[in-house]
């Protein structure tokens, strides 16, 4: 924790949570996205509907799940359905407002790689793979992404496009047949990026307090565009921090250790 009284992880989580609005339907990836969505639900968006790909609709966990299919999700859900149904009747049908994803790597158009580092047929590092992401990225009304910003994660050229962001930019996504609007916000530990309305290239529109544009550029594998006058992210308010820390403390007690992320 810095002298500011909160960590970069905490401001990242809080800043992302503020983007979710009450009553929205959010398809939640595990790890950071799940922490964000639950923080939003526990604070300003009590009617945020959380869908996990394990088939839980309207999950209201008291602690953060370690996996996408924890029992807590099923117990607190409004409805639990089979996995084929969650993808067909709920995601593919267009019932999801926000797809909230993590990523191993993204590029300047917010395309996502979670498949391999190195060539596909001779990977240097074999990553977990696609999971639900390609269809979440295509079908959700819009997509939010959360990941830490570094030259390892923000890369000039993806080794593999697992899930489509804005593809090659411009209207390339619109022409692709994807139904949703694609990534609209990327929240990192340094700030917030949004696609340029025309080129769809990511622009750093907000920096967390104390973070400089040069720091952000140095943590990016391409020549990062930063807004002329980037906003400064509002620091976490005490009540936000309290909720988040209480959530993590409950989670640690429940799981016997801190979760890996978030």
């Amino acid at each position: 924790m810095s002298e500011s009284g909160y960590t970069l992880n905490e401001i990242m989580t809080v800043a992302a949570a503020r983007l979710l609005r009450n009553g929205q339907v959010c398809f939640v990836g595990i790890g950071l996205p799940s922490a964000v969505a639950n923080l939003a639900r526990l604070s300003h968006a009590p009617e945020l509907v959380l869908i996990y790909e394990s088939g839980t609709i309207g999950a209201k966990p008291d602690v953060l799940p370690l996996s996408i299919g924890d029992g807590e999700l099923a117990e607190t859900a409004d409805a639990v359905v089979a996995v084929p149904e969650i993808f067909r009747y709920w995601l593919q049908a267009g019932r999801v407002d926000i797809g909230f994803l993590g990523a191993a790597q993204i590029d300047r158009h917010a395309n996502i790689n979670t498949t391999v580092i190195g060539p596909y047929d001779r990977p240097k590092t074999r990553l977990p793979g696609a999971g639900g992401a390609p269809e979440i990225a295509a079908a959700a009304g819009e997509v939010f992404i959360i990941l830490r910003q570094s030259k390892r994660t923000f890369v000039d050229q993806l080794d593999f496009i697992t899930s489509a962001g804005h593809l090659t930019g411009g209207d390339s996504r619109a022409r692709s047949g994807a139904r949703g609007r694609g990534p609209q916000v990327i929240v990192t530990d340094l700030g917030i990026l949004r696609p340029d309305p025309e080129s769809k290239e990511l622009v750093m529109t907000s920096l967390h307090p104390g973070v400089t544009a040069d720091q952000a550029r140095a943590a990016t594998g391409w020549k990062l565009r930063v807004a002329d006058r980037p906003e400064v992210t509002e620091p976490p308010r005490p009540e936000e921090l309290e909720l988040l820390r209480a959530l993590h403390a409950r989670t640690a007690r429940a799981h016997g250790a801190a979760p890996a992320e978030g």
């Binding site: 595990i30 790909e53 394990s54 088939g55 839980t56 370690l66 996996s67 996408i68 299919g69 924890d70 029992g71 999700l73 099923a74 117990e75 639990v80 359905v81 089979a82 996995v83 084929p84 993808f87 067909r88 995601l91 593919q92 395309n111 498949t115 596909y120 047929d121 990977p123 240097k124 590092t125 074999r126 977990p128 793979g129 696609a130 999971g131 639900g132 992401a133 390609p134 269809e135 990225a137 295509a138 079908a139 593999f160 496009i161 697992t162 899930s163 489509a164 962001g165 593809l167 996504r173 692709s176 047949g177 994807a178 139904r179 799981h255 016997g256 250790a257 979760p259 890996a260």
Partner: protein, 287 residues
């Protein structure tokens, strides 16, 4: 009626060398005990199918039982990588592992097609993704009404599916509650099916709406209390997060892995023996 038999018999009868095997479970109800029994019986040349390969597939791959993996997300949930899986893909150790890779939505649709007696599934999938470039089993089909082009993939019809469930009744009807995952579809897509259960009960405390499989759709039922450990069985026991984290360390090292498997899986007679050998209490009594 499903035959209720020992897990050893159920695996011996239903899982054969060279089979396409789907051991399904979505975080909940992973059929670990059955996976161990497949390892003990030394099956070879398996094609392993699963949406979310995790520790049990890491063990099977690490033991060299599989030459092909069909999947959509492979990891140790909440922990990180599967090191035996990565070693096989990245280094061909202990044997090369061909991968056929899809997305979750696709795999789920492929199981549905398999369960439905259809040769292929249609989905809105893979828009802008590189996956179809590397997998010629992801193709397209045009809607005969709108002309829209959609993704098409072939049905999955495993030789055998293996799942774990909370309960069977005396006739072999199967009950699952909590996260139900893809298990019903995996069983119905397969030619044969083995179900391990926590217990056999006289009758279910649930409406017939909750019965996931009628007895005659299942080849064999085996009672294996605790059989999903270290994953969880809703209403019976929680996930063993400490084990899942410990697995990261065990599986990073080839030798450590081999010793562990030798001692705890090959060196034990059955899942109860495995549980004792890793220091777990005896699981709930079978009825």
């Amino acid at each position: 009626m499903a035959a209720i038999m020992s897990l050893r018999e159920a695996i011996a009868e239903n899982v054969r060398d060279g089979d396409v095997v789907a051991m399904e479970g979505f975080t909940h109800l992973i059929p670990f005990a059955a996976g161990h029994e497949v390892i003990r019986q030394g099956r070879r040349n398996l094609t392993l199918v699963r949406m979310t390969p995790d520790i049990i597939y890491d063990q099977m791959i690490g033991m060299g039982l599989a030459n092909r993996l069909v999947f959509s997300w492979g990891g140790n949930p909440g922990v990180g990588s599967l090191h035996r899986f990565r070693d096989a893909v990245e280094n061909g150790y202990p044997a090369p592992l061909a991968v056929e890779e899809h997305s979750h939505a696709d795999m789920a649709a492929r199981y549905q097609a398999g369960a439905s007696g259809l040769p292929f599934a249609v989905l809105r999938g893979y828009v802008g993704s590189d996956l179809p470039k590397w997998n010629d089993r992801i193709r397209t089909v045009s809607c005969p009404f709108t002309g829209e082009v959609l993704a098409a993939t072939p049905a999955i019809n495993p030789d055998v599916a293996v799942i774990h469930a909370q309960q069977a009744d005396k006739r072999g009807n199967v009950l699952i509650w909590g996260i139900v995952g893809i298990q019903k579809e995996a069983v119905l897509a397969a030619r044969r099916a083995v179900v391990t259960v926590e217990e056999v009960v006289e009758r279910f405390d649930a409406t017939p709406n909750a019965c996931i499989l009628p007895h005659w759709a299942v080849s064999a039922v085996a009672v294996v209390p605790g059989g999903a450990h270290p994953s969880y069985t809703h209403g019976y026991y929680d996930r063993d997060n400490a084990f899942c984290k410990a697995w990261d360390g065990i599986s990073r090292d080839r030798r450590k892995f081999a010793d562990w498997m030798e001692k705890h899986v090959l060196g034990t007679r059955d899942f109860a023996g495995f549980r004792r050998s890793i220091g777990l209490a005896e699981a709930g009594a079978a009825s």
